[in-house]
């Protein structure tokens, strides 16, 4: 996953119904860009049948009692 460009952000914001100027789009790109880069190793790698609700299953799972190092 690559960070969106200011031009792409301007188009996305227009579609969202909250248009922004070119200057604001550039600022947004710089601001949110690191989040895209940080998530890049995960993006596009998730299994087909993974649902967001697995979070609730993980919350309720019993933790194995193996010894820590």
């Amino acid at each position: 996953m690559t960070r969106p460009t200011p031009k792409e952000i301007k188009a996305i914001a227009d579609v969202a119904g909250v248009p922004v100027s070119a200057e604001v789009a550039t600022r947004i790109a710089n601001s949110i860009g690191p989040a895209f880069e940080g998530f890049a190793p995960v993006a596009g790698t998730l299994p087909f049948d993974l649902e967001p609700a697995t979070f609730l299953l993980a919350q309720g799972a019993k933790t194995p009692k193996k010894a820590a190092k």
């Binding site: 969106p4 895209f36 998730l46 649902e51 993980a58 919350q59």
Partner: protein, 475 residues
């Protein structure tokens, strides 16, 4: 606690102690409320911690509580105890600004479940506490109502977004306060102001009637003077709520019993990376000293290798940006000029995240939590700094909507965001002071819904230390 303390300044006692003193009629609710109001009058001009002060109503409520007690009618565990909370908890008939211009005149028609449960326990209202605009800021700046000041050093930040809660609890203006934590907003003020703050597990406390920022990440929790006081509040607030289907329906542990136990036999993990990287020297020193206390108190210390926390931070940022923008979209269209520049800037970030990217971040949350829990198997809690530095000055962290604003925010919230993404509980406790007198806190990160163990460790630590008992002096 002694009679002299009660007769001179009841506001200095803990929540637990003052509730017991009122119930035993050693002090009246009016005396306690007046003590808090006296301190508020002294400190508020310096701190700007309160959004609204309701002295007359508070005293009238205190008189009613005293009259009821005289007739043998005890309202609950906190009968007659005056409190103030972050100004985002709906209280029917009261203005709830959410720290914003947009909601400057918003009058709530319902009362939040968390607040109602505290009212049912007998608390009375002192007023409301300042906060970052719409809870979207980690420093305590607010372009509409001015910054909240740190009672330990007036020119330093309190941390946000529960800025007034941290400042007011530290200065002993209220015995405790509700905060909220979506990206670190309870733990940051607890760390910077030297108080105890509990970020709860997502689902532990009802969010009904609490201003939303991010439905996946928002949590309700207390800031107080001790882990024992947090336990008292948790016992009253936690549990299922028909008004909030995301509040879990399972049993609520006995938090008040948990804080009576020692930390002997518990295992505390120390991360090998990330949370120990690039720390200010004094924060690093205090982390080592805290671990030494844990050892002395009987905890077993082990090193833990955690999954890459930077990816959790990034995922958190994507989720938060989108959900916050969605909540605010209407006002972003209709009233953009009424937001502070930094808050509008951060809300606009959410516009840039495609739906697929947002859902990827949400889908990964389950495996990410499972991986984290596997890494800490056998560990009761992980110790980590809340932030790599003590409180910066208000001036140096006043970045507004400058190009590097998000970088500053990310640096301050580096150690808090992963916990929010994973939905885990985390207790911030005061663990020391810098040479210049600024408090430094550490967070104990637990397993989902295991706040009781965190409170147990925190209370045991506080029986062995006095950092939480220190009180800032009015300069």
């Amino acid at each position: 606690m002694n009679i002299h303390q009660i007769s001179t300044e009841p506001a200095l006692l803990s929540l637990t102690a003052i509730a017991q003193a009122i119930a035993a009629k050693r002090v009246s609710s009016r005396e306690v409320t007046q003590s808090c109001l006296d301190r508020i009058a002294q400190w508020q001009p310096r701190l700007n911690a309160f959004m609204a002060i309701e002295a007359e109503q508070a005293l009238a409520s205190a008189d009613a509580a005293d009259a009821a007690l005289a007739k043998g009618k005890v309202g609950g565990a906190l009968h007659g105890v005056p409190l103030a909370h972050k100004d985002m908890y709906y209280d029917a008939g009261k203005v709830v600004t959410c720290g914003s211009k947009i909601r400057r005149d918003f009058v709530a028609t319902t009362t939040s479940t968390a607040l109602q449960r505290l009212k049912d326990a007998g608390t009375i209202r002192l007023g409301s506490l300042q906060m970052s605009e719409f809870a979207y800021g980690p420093t305590g700046h607010n372009s509409h109502y001015g910054p909240v000041h740190n009672p330990w050093a007036i020119d330093h930040v309190t941390g946000g977004s529960s800025s007034g809660s941290g400042s007011a609890v530290a200065a002993r203006l209220t015995f405790a306060a509700l905060g909220s934590d979506t990206g670190g907003s309870i733990r940051m003020p607890a760390h910077f102001c030297g108080v105890t703050g509990l970020k709860t597990t997502v689902g532990r406390i009802s969010r009904a009637g609490a201003m939303p920022l991010s439905q996946s990440l928002d949590t309700v929790g207390p800031l107080a003077r001790s882990a024992e006081d947090c336990a008292l509040l948790m016992a009253l607030m936690a549990g299922a709520d028909p008004e909030d289907p995301t509040a879990v329906t399972g049993p609520v542990p006995d938090y008040n019993a948990a804080v009576q136990r020692s930390m002997k036999g518990l295992t505390i993990g120390v991360p090998t990376a990330f949370y120990v990287d690039d720390l200010d020297a004094e924060v690093a020193r205090i982390l080592d000293e805290t671990i030494a206390v844990f050892k002395r108190e009987g905890a077993h210390i082990v090193q833990v290798e955690l999954p890459d926390q930077r990816q959790f931070t990034a995922a958190c940022q994507l989720v938060l940006a989108v959900e916050a923008a969605a909540f605010h979209k209407r006002w972003m269209i209709e009233r953009p000029q009424d937001y502070g520049p930094q808050v509008l800037m951060r809300l606009q970030n959410g516009l840039a995240v495609p739906g697929v990217s947002y859902l990827e971040a949400m889908r990964w949350r389950g495996p990410a939590l499972a991986a984290y829990l596997a890494a800490v198997a056998g560990v009761d809690a992980v110790i980590a700094p809340v932030a790599p530095v003590a409180a910066p000055t208000i001036a140096e962290s006043d970045v507004g909507n400058s190009p590097d604003a998000e970088a500053v925010i990310q640096r301050l919230t580096r150690f808090t965001r992963p916990v929010n993404y994973l939905g885990l509980p985390s207790l911030a406790i005061p663990t020391g002071f810098t040479a210049s007198g600024l408090p430094v806190g550490m967070q104990l990160i637990g397993r989902s819904f295991d706040e009781a163990t965190l409170l147990r460790i925190g209370a045991a630590f506080q029986r062995a230390t006095d950092f939480h008992d220190r009180i800032p002096e009015l300069a």
